[in-house]
Structure formats: C-alpha cells, structure tokens
C-alpha cells in the first residue's frame, strides 16, 4: 500500500542506502504531501534514521535520488530543518539554551556575520513556542531530557523552514513534554508546514500522525493512516526481518568492498 501524490514536498526515487558496508535501505520509492504530520515507523534497524540522514545528505546514497520541493537538497537547504537524535550531541558543551536555539538562525545569517537583535527575537519566540522561555540563560548541561528535546525543537523552529525532519523527538521524554511537542507539531502543520517524524511507538503514532510510512529495510507502506495501518502491513513491518534479504546483506558484508556502489 504505497500512495503517491502529485507535486510532493518530498520525493524519494529508487533510493538505496548502504551504511558501513551493509545495505540498509533497498529501493525506496515514495512521495509525500505538504502540510501533513507524517510518522516513520518500523522495528529497530529498519532504516528509519538512515532514511532521514540520507535525505539530509548526511549519509551517501548508493542508488536513486531525493527531491525536495522538486529541487536538489543544496538548492533548498534554507527551507528544511533537521532535528537529530538527542544522543548525537554532547550536552556538556558550554552553551546556554539561547545559544543553541540561535544556531537555528545561522543558516540564513551566513558566514562571518554576527547574530543580532533580529536573530535573538526569533530565538526567543521559538523558545516561547516550546514553553522554555524561562530557561533562556540556563546551561544545557543542567536540562532534563524533555527540556533538551524542546531546545532542539526550538532550534529547528528558529530555522523558519517549510519542511521539518525529526529523528525520534519523543524518545525518552516525559508525558507532559510529549503532549506539548505534539500540540506544537499540529499547529505547525495547520500553518502549512510539513513535519516528518521518526517514531518508535505504533500506538501513539495512530493518534498523532495523518500519514504513516512503514519501513523494514524496504518500504512496506506509505499513505494516510487509515489505509496503511492494517494487520497485514503491520506484520510485514514488524514481523521479523526478511530472511533472504538478511542473507544477501550478509554476503555483501563479507566482501571487502560494497558491490552496490557503482
């Protein structure tokens, strides 16, 4: 069950991605509509993070291509925002909450220029949207997990983008934060932004998202949640790895080079 749309905000064509010698995503084909809250689901190691990182150009692509707003990534970077997993960063870094959120404005600011009043205002507004305005000068090492997540989201908001890609923003976060973030995401999509979220829990996914993508090393399904969350598709996603695919991956990994790379 793969539903495609005309004039998609994100189009992925025959995408194959290898990570460290083994293929992680096989021939993914999908297109996503604008203005929706989209969840990416799948078991561990299914390639969810890999998909987002490949779209953002952080991991090299071994086949296929990605189009955002019908253009190449480099042409539209200022319209895309990325929220990485929380563990990808050392929270001991000497920075205040405001410092981190302001980083979201650096893309538009450009090299060498110093952030000024305008950037600070944007940052403060974003902090308010995530409910962290009281923590403006707090050191990030003193924040709880939920607060750290909100800061990351505020940074993403400060980018003032049209498309947001978030990697497990609800992981390890308290209930209040989760509800608050979800509400924020809904406001964003109501305002016309597209938000794509890697998520880990199928139950809450049903409540949160309009559109769901299911991955298991390949694309199992992509479409409005009612049509996609069926027992059969869930089984295909979570019901264990494809035996053959695993064996082929094993063979590829044993070689000293990646035969999938041209």
């Amino acid at each position: 069950m793969i539903i495609n749309v005309d004039s998609p905000v994100l189009e992925i064509h025959d995408l194959t991605v290898s990570y460290d010698q083994s293929p992680v995503l096989w021939n993914v084909d999908l297109s996503l509509p604008a203005g929706k809250l989209i969840g990416i689901l799948g078991p561990n190691g299914a390639g969810k993070s890999t998909l987002i990182k490949a779209v953002m150009g952080l991991i090299p692509i071994t086949g296929g291509y990605v189009k955002l707003f019908d253009r190449e990534l480099n042409e539209v970077r200022s319209r895309i925002s990325y929220v990485p997993q929380r563990e990808s960063v050392d929270w001991n870094f000497p920075a205040s909450v405001l410092d981190v959120v302001m980083m979201g404005t650096y893309g538009k600011l450009g090299l060498f220029r110093r952030p000024g009043k305008k950037e600070k205002k944007i940052a403060m507004d974003c902090l308010e949207k995530v409910g962290m305005q009281a923590f403006v000068d707090r050191q990030i090492s003193e924040l709880s997990g939920g607060q750290q997540q909100r800061v990351f989201i505020a940074r993403a908001l400060a980018q003032e983008a049209d498309l947001y890609l978030m990697d497990e923003p609800f992981a390890g976060v308290d209930m209040a934060t989760e509800t608050a973030i979800f509400q924020l995401l809904q406001e964003m999509t109501a305002a016309g932004k597209t938000v794509i979220v890697v998520h880990h829990d199928i139950h809450s996914a049903m409540n949160y998202f309009d559109w769901i993508i299911m991955l298991n090393l390949h694309l199992v399904a992509s479409g409005p949640k009612a049509q996609v969350v069926t027992e059969e598709l869930l089984r295909k996603t979570y019901g264990g790895k494809l035996n053959l695919l695993t064996k082929v991956t094993d063979i590829i990994r044993q070689k000293d080079f990646n035969p999938l790379k041209s």
Partner: protein, 430 residues
C-alpha cells in the same frame, strides 16, 4: 658492508646483548601495546611514556648515578601516579578522555623537563646518559642494565601469555568478565603495571616521545594480517623486534643518530606496508578484489548480452557487434572475450561468437538470478517493476547457489519475471 657483517654475526658480545635486549623489549612493548590497541586506548600508552620522565629524573637524582633500580622504580611510581590520576579525573570531572590524557601527558612531561634541566645544570657527568631516555639509544644499553630490563620484558611476555584469557576479556568486554565473577579490577591493575613496565624498558631504545609508536604500530599493523589473537600477538612481536634490531643497526653504523627515530621509521614502514598490501584488508588488496569483481561482472554482462540476443531471435553474433555494445571499452571487451574463450564458455569461429553448452548454462544462470531477484523485489518488497532492474543488475553477480535455491523456493519456481520475460532454466529449449 663489513659493518653489516660485524653487526649481524654478533662477533661483539655487547652487540649481541643489545640485540637480545631490543628484541625482548620490543616484543614486550608490542604485546602490551596490542592489548591497549584492541582496547581502543592506544594513546594512553603515549601519556604514560611521557609521564615516566619525572620519575626517571628523580630516581637519578636520588641515586646520583644511572642506577637502573632507582630509575625503574622512579619511573614506575611516576607512571603509576599518572595512570591513577587519569582514572581519577575521568570519574570525578566532566572533562573528556582526550583532554585528560593530553593534560596528564604534557604536565608530567613538563615536570620531567624541569627536573632534567636541574640535573643538567648540576653538572653531573652521568647526566649525559639521561638524554638517552628522551630519544632512545639502544647501543648504550649496558650489560648490567640488560639483566634488569630483559628480565622485566620476559616477565611481561610471560604474564600476558599465561593470562591471555583474562586480558582478552578485559579489553573486549570487561563488564562481562565482572558479571561472571572475574576480578576485573585486579586484572586491570596488573595490566596497568605491565604497561608501565613496558614503557620503562621500551624508552631505553626508543625514547619517551616516540614510545607510543612501539606500543601502537606493531598491533595496528599486525591486525591487518590476521583476526586471531594469538597470531596477532606473534606478528606484532615480530614487527617490533625486527624494527628494533634494524634501528639499532642504524645507530651502530651512524653513531650520532639516536636509535628511537629509526626504529619508528622501520615500524612505520611495516605499518604502512601492512595497511596497503595485507591480503584481504589492505588497501591494495581491496582495490584488486574490486577490479577482479568488475572484470567478472563484465564477463557476466557479456554472457547476458548474447543470451538476450538469442531470446529475441538472433542466431549469429559477429564479434564487432559485441564490441559496439560496449562503447569506449573495446580493449576491456576484448580481454573479457578472450577470458571467456579460455574458460570454454564461448567459441569464436570466423568472427562469430557462440555459446558452448557450459556457456549457455552459465548465461542462463545469470539471467535467471537477475529475473528471480527482480521478482523478489517486486513481490516481497513492493518495488515497482521499473525500479528493480538496477538492484538485480548488481546482485546477479553475487547471489550464491544457496540463495538461488531459497529464491526459487520462496517464489515457487516462477515462470515469468516482473517484465513478463521468461525465467530460464537448464531444461528449457529456447
């Protein structure tokens, strides 16, 4: 030339002693260093090497001369203190590992240099020998020193060999060891002691600054030749010993050259040679493997080309047409055809290419694998028919007979692929 003979036939017993000393100390350092390397804490050895300097100087100052017992003890205490401070800082501050190691390394070294210059100013004639600790001078190893240093080296080698199981667990997965009841804390302590001792004796030959090379390079190089720990240690030891001997030889022939740098040069030669030329893991080997693979894929593609021709009704294949099918690659295509002729998969008769029965079977196999994989991608992974070709084109060369059987089974011995083309089997008639 005569130097060479003189050196290597050990006519001079002091040279023989030096060579024995270097060999033992090289092997000891390589062993300890390899474990440290596997523990991904290679640079800790660098820190400890620098950290023993103040201890050496203090030992010298207390003894008034280059007394090995004082020096070893001093170095040992100094190294132990550095190791202790490193772990203490790790558990009690927020500093990152690299900042801690770099700080301890340079601070202890700084103290050492202070003491060294104090000794220098005091005008003690023995002091000239101390310089050997900074840059290494294997030739200066005296016979008496050798008994102590050699003895320690043997102790290190024996301990590491006897307790291989324990030390492997330490570097591979210490928590597991702890959970099954091994005294990992004590084992770690013993390991640190051995490391400090290895450093103390190693710096005789190579000096404080370059000691890290003697610990890191042998293991890193040996790692490219084998995956088994026992062999790894042996190869590392060999690299280290040989480099040590060669470095000493250079010092012998050119007396004003310190030994240390030359040992490092030889170690690095071994290391880079390993990184480039080791079978399977070396850069060159991987390159060759890839080239060979590409050659084979070209052969497969050529066989497929002819088979597809047969499928669409052609029955003669002039060699020129085949060249044209692979534009700009005439030479490669020629090689490929030669290879296929040699392995009896094709025949060439008056400019026309044809299959042998073996060749036809092989071509069928490849086409079959291609189409089976396309079918698998299409049916099991919902991938559109026009997107399955690229993946199949790449994988048809590596799918094994076992996988082929699985595919056939899973897909239920299908007749057609997603493009409605027949899946060829050996009993078909075209």
């Amino acid at each position: 030339m005569s130097d060479f003979v003189y050196f290597f036939t050990f006519q001079d017993s002091s040279i023989a002693f030096v060579v024995i000393g270097i060999t033992l100390l090289g092997i000891g350092s390589a062993y300890v260093g390899t474990y440290s390397f596997l523990d991904k804490k290679a640079l800790l050895g660098d820190a400890i090497s620098h950290a023993v300097l103040p201890g050496i100087c203090l030992g010298f100052m207390l003894a008034g001369e280059k007394n090995p017992i004082y020096i070893v003890t001093g170095a040992f205490l100094s190294g132990a203190l550095a190791t202790f401070l490193t772990s203490w800082l790790k558990s009690n501050t927020r500093l990152s590992d690299d900042a801690i190691i770099a700080s301890i390394l340079s601070i202890f070294f700084g103290f050492g240099v202070v003491l060294l210059t104090v000794i220098q100013k005091s005008g003690n004639p023995e002091m000239a020998g101390l310089n050997q600790f900074i840059f290494g001078n294997a030739i200066a190893i005296l016979e008496e020193d050798l008994y102590i240093y050699g003895g320690l080296a043997i102790l290190i080698i024996i301990t590491l060999t006897a307790f291989r199981k324990e030390f492997s667990m330490l570097v591979f997965n210490a928590d597991f060891g702890k959970s099954i009841g091994y005294p990992m804390g004590a084992i770690r302590l013993v390991f640190n002691v051995l490391m400090i001792l290895a450093v103390v004796i190693g710096i005789q030959a190579i000096g404080v600054v370059l000691m890290a090379a003697l610990l890191i390079a042998p293991g890193a190089a040996a790692r490219f030749w084998t995956d088994k720990l026992g062999k790894l240690l042996l190869i590392a030891g060999a690299f280290s010993a040989v480099s040590g001997i060669l470095g000493t030889y250079v010092s012998f022939v050119i007396p004003q050259m310190p030994t240390g740098p030359w040992v490092v040069v030889f170690l690095s030669l071994f290391a880079f040679a390993s990184f480039l030329f080791a079978p399977k893991k070396g850069v060159l080997s991987r390159f060759i493997a890839r080239r060979y693979y590409l050659k084979k894929t070209h052969q497969d593609h050529l066989l497929k080309l002819i088979y597809h021709g047969l499928e669409s009704g052609k029955n003669s294949f002039p060699i020129e047409e085949i060249y044209e099918s692979f534009p700009y690659r005439k030479r490669q295509t020629k090689h490929t055809i030669d290879e296929l002729l040699k392995t009896d998969l094709l025949t060439l008769n008056q400019g026309l290419i044809d299959f042998t029965s073996k060749g036809k079977s092989e071509a069928k196999r490849i086409v079959r694998l291609h189409r089976l994989w396309e079918l698998y991608l299409n049916e099991y992974m919902n991938i559109a028919p026009d997107h399955v070709h690229d993946s199949a084109e790449k994988l048809e060369h590596i799918l094994t007979p076992e996988l082929e059987a699985l595919l056939e089974n899973r897909l239920n011995y299908p007749k057609l692929d997603p493009h409605q083309e027949a899946i060829p089997r050996d009993n078909d008639e075209l």
